[in-house]
Amino acid sequence: MRKVAVIGVGQSNFGELWDASFRDIVLSAGIEALEDAGLEGREIEAMYVGNMSGGRYLAQEHIAALIADYAGLAELHIPSTRVEAADASGGLALRQAYMAVASGVHDIVIAAGAEKVTDVGSEAAMEILASAADREWEVFAGATLASLYAMIARLHMEKFGTRPEDLAMVSVKNHKNATLNPKAQFRREISLEIALNSPYVAEPLRLFDCAPLSDGAAVVILASEEVAKTYTDTPVYISACCQASDYLALHSRKDLLTMRAVVHAAKQAYKQAGIEAKDIDVAEVHDSFTIAEILAYEDLGFAEKGKGAELIREGVTNLDGDIPVNPSGGLKACGHAVGATGIRQAVEITLQLRGDAGKRQVDAENGLALNVGGTGATAIVTIFTR
């Protein structure tokens, strides 16, 4: 396998982008990535696109060709492929692009993620996201994605003593980080009191425990090590990109408090990268709900099982802590553009390792991104190294 580098990154603003179409959003991220890499466009050999549900959010399928077309690449006739794993679609696109370069099939490949959710109402958008869970046996019974994570949260509280305050602190931290990210959806601080007094969505989870659904797109351009050197002096290498799956429905899993797909993907990724959890200096994790960030601390090995909340209590994952987590603001405050999220995380870690993260810059050699689909039936762990 060849060594793979990130040579360019781009991201649209995340949020309710009423005046921008799906194509506009993708293009803004794509152009930024091409400029960042110093590419004209014709160097691109293939494209992978993560998109959860163009069919239901936009009544538009055939997204991969559409994006290649509007990115100005139609004349090049490159293979463009859409991949889907609910809100882990972006992570899948990254992994497909990584494998295409690592295998030697292609030298320069785009991994994109994009979602436009505000062309349907917010209730319809939530309902579409719920198809990440088991439609026939969870959603039919009245489960929402929030309520499934809520049942995990309640059990975590019951078994390990995690408190609503701990969950709220995750939200407060991520909102604070987002104030330093010009592309984030919510760029304002919130207090613990506001988070703890916000209305319930699914008890014990409140409004500020839940990431929004956002419009947004993100693009990374990958190249082989040799090719990367001709384009950039500051390549960031992908030292592992591992994916795992699990039972689709929460009720089928043996341990409700462990995302075994995350554990498997992380174990493989650490092994492949030749590092351990303690070597990670910065991470972007999938905080679709605050409890998911606590589980990520545990399942990625930053904390022992059951002790995830201690990291947030002790400030370990703050921007100035030992392992800053979600410096971008995470899904909670940067926004959750579903299929774009996995790529957006890769953009953030690349910026952090290059030293281009502006006011939210942390000192980091090794970075990790964790993208999760639904309640954990798909996980992608990617490790980046300077």
């Binding site: 209730e123 319809a124 939530m126 309902e127 719920a130 026939e136 046996w137 969870e138 959603v139 039919f140 019974a141 009245g142 489960a143 929402t144 929030a146 309520s147 499934l148 809520a150 049942m151 995990i152 309640r154 059990l155 019951e158 209305p199 319930y200 969505v201 699914a202 008890e203 014990p204 989870l205 039972y247 429905a249 929460l250 009720h251 089928s252 409700l256």
Partner: protein, 130 residues
């Protein structure tokens, strides 16, 4: 969506699951392949007792459109006595539900496709007086 629903009527109305005769595990929702035994699976359908215990629960305040009228409602993970975990609504007041409480199945309405559409029924759970 009608065929998609009625294909599952037996399993939803009566809590019919499956059992793998090779390893003895019970499955609900029913599976045709045992994830423990895979090709050695020996699956047969079984009617489950419909009694179990609440493992975790949530009170849903932000409900999907077709369940708006019901909110807030209780969704729970219930460990059936045979072993499988089921996602189901609990028919009780939100204040009544506790982790560890005993529940049993009950035949209830789930929703309908508008005024002229079909009505969906299935299994919910109610508190079990011991």
């Amino acid at each position: 969506m009608l065929p998609r629903f009625w294909r599952k009527i037996k399993y939803r109305y009566d809590l019919v699951g499956t059992k793998c005769e090779n390893c003895g595990n019970y499955y609900y929702p029913p599976r045709n392949l045992c994830p423990v035994c895979r090709r050695k699976s020996k699956i047969r359908e079984v009617k489950l007792s419909g009694r179990g215990e609440v493992i975790s629960y949530s009170i849903v305040h932000e409900a999907p459109e077709d369940l708006k009228a019901e909110k807030p409602y209780v969704i729970a993970l219930i460990r059936l006595d045979e072993g499988p975990l089921v996602t189901s609504q609990l028919v009780c007041e939100p204040e009544e539900v506790k982790i560890g409480m005993r529940v049993r199945k009950a035949f209830r309405k789930y929703g309908e496709d508008g005024e002229a559409g079909i009505i969906y029924y299935g299994t919910k759970f109610v508190l079990d007086e011991v």
